[in-house]
């Protein structure tokens, strides 16, 4: 695609703008901001990726992955603001998931250890791990809050903090994993996954694109499970003190 054809695609931005204007939706400003931001951000990423791929330097790969983890941590931690030390808990979870998945992929020779593979797959894994962290933390803080009575009940009967929070923890882990599992059930029926479509358009053999997509989906199952479970077990102890009491919050 040339930059000329790319600029013609702006027609797809003009249509919603016109609709917004005529129907008084008031979305013109946001649409324009979104368009400009996506152009700048993606072009920037494109140039950076090209640079990193060309250099094939481990240092740059490492920096890129680190940057992704930092950005993802920053995004996710706000959802768990009430949990002490949530920043490093999210960071440790993301790092663990990244190391685990890349370790398996590269260690078992599933994907080659090139910048191209490491960075694209890391992006998907870290991005999904971030979304899972947010889903989990949202649900967990809500569960803890609405079931405080039951937590206190279990403690009062001589239960440990882990026993007292068990139901809420399990419910939150389950709830946060469901979207990942559900979306895999219908994959391909309604819409093709974006990555697969991209590969096919770029000329890849559909079967190969499907194989790669399957790999990614299985990878994301692990990502979802490990993220929720790990974050859950890192988070719940901060709700209690040494004397096995629920820490009182205003």
């Amino acid at each position: 695609m040339t930059y000329l054809t790319l600029s013609i695609t702006l027609i797809f931005v003009v249509i919603p703008l016109v609709l917004s204007k005529t129907l008084n939706l008031g979305l013109e400003r946001d649409t324009i901001i979104a368009t400009v931001r996506s152009i700048i951000q993606l072009l920037l990423v494109g140039f950076i990726l090209k640079f990193v791929f060309d250099s094939e330097s481990l240092l740059y790969i490492f920096l890129m992955v680190t940057l992704m983890i930092v950005a993802a941590t920053h995004n996710a931690r706000n959802k768990g603001a009430s949990i002490k030390g949530i920043t490093w808990k999210v960071a440790v979870t993301l790092i663990f998931v990244e190391v685990l998945t890349q370790g398996i992929l590269i260690g078992l020779n599933i994907t080659p250890p090139t910048a191209q593979y490491i960075i694209s797959i890391s992006g998907m894994v870290i991005g999904n791990s971030m979304v899972l962290s947010i889903l989990f933390l949202n649900r967990f803080t809500a569960e803890v809050e609405s079931h405080q009575d039951e937590t206190e009940l279990v403690l009062s009967l001589g239960g440990t903090p882990k026993q007292a929070i068990h139901t809420q923890l399990i419910n939150s882990i389950k709830a946060s994993m469901i979207p990942t599992i559900e979306s895999q059930k219908t994959v391909g029926l309604v819409q093709l996954p974006g990555m697969m479509s991209g590969q096919i358009i770029a000329g890849a053999d559909p079967i190969q694109a499907v194989q790669f997509q399957l790999l990614i989906m299985f990878l994301l199952l692990t990502t979802a499970a490990v993220t929720s479970v790990m974050l859950g077990f890192l988070s719940y102890p901060t709700l209690f003190n040494q004397r096995m009491q629920l820490i009182q919050k205003s």
Binding site: L155, G158, T160, M244, Q245
Partner: protein, 243 residues
């Protein structure tokens, strides 16, 4: 109090606050072993907070609490809470059946609870054994209170803390519950601390009574003090009747 007794629980200048708000101030006094002490006072006086301090659900900000002459912190929290059982004011239920709720204290220890035992306990608190497999969400407030107290009894606590356990009960059930608690007290020598808004109840079942207001203990003594309180605020509280 001048009466001679051994304290089951002793408070020494205990303060408790949340976010800088003093909830309890300078609580000092004893709950006599093997007796029933009733705890009365207006809403928000700090009664529930005081009860939760007794079994380590909360810890004092300053001051000491002794359980049978041993500092409360020298007990493992789990051991303490089995020894000093509480029936919480809101009678919270874990979702599932009545049996699941009764079995909870036992299952927390990793053991299984015998159905026969559960049935007999259920009858003790005045519920038919057919309730065992009912979902707790299908029970009335009063029935849930009965399940809640039964569940607290499963651990056979030496000290029993009761927070408003008869507030949703009809007169007959209320009398039955009073008889059951008195029986437990007589039969096993269980020390009982019982919060109630019902001053007649406090007088009827209590050996001793603590009156709390605004986070302080304003009067203590034999329960008959409620008939002729020394303190003016207590007098007007008592005349105001149960609130």
């Amino acid at each position: 109090m001048t009466t001679d007794y051994k304290p089951a629980i002793h408070f020494n200048h205990v303060d408790y606050s949340i976010d800088g708000n003093k909830i309890l101030r300078g609580i000092t006094g004893s709950f006599p072993e093997g007796k029933i002490t009733t705890l009365v006072g207006p809403s928000g006086a700090g009664k529930t907070t005081l009860l939760k301090l007794c079994n380590g659900l909360l810890s004092p900000e300053s001051g000491e609490i002794y359980i049978k002459d041993k500092g409360i912190d020298s007990f493992e929290p789990v051991e303490l809470r089995r020894k000093v059982g509480i029936a919480l004011q809101s009678a919270p239920m874990v979702s599932g059946t009545v049996y699941k709720n009764l079995a909870l204290p036992v299952e927390l220890r990793g053991e299984k609870y015998d159905k026969k035992e559960a049935e007999s306990l259920l009858r003790d608190v005045g519920l038919d054994e057919k309730f065992l497999d009912r979902k707790v969400t299908d029970l009335s407030g009063g029935q849930q209170q009965k399940v809640s107290i039964a569940r607290t009894l499963v651990n056979k606590p030496e000290i029993l803390l009761l927070d408003e356990i008869t507030s949703s009960l009809d007169r007959t059930s209320l009398k039955e519950m009073e008889e059951l608690i008195t029986l437990i007290n007589r039969k096993y020598g269980t020390t009982i601390i019982w919060i109630t808004h019902n001053l007649q109840q406090a007088l009827d079942i209590g050996d001793y009574t603590w009156v709390m207001m605004d986070g302080e203990v304003v009067e203590t003594g034999e329960s008959k003090l409620l008939r002729s309180p020394a303190n003016d605020r207590v007098k007007s509280f008592v005349q105001g009747g149960a609130q």
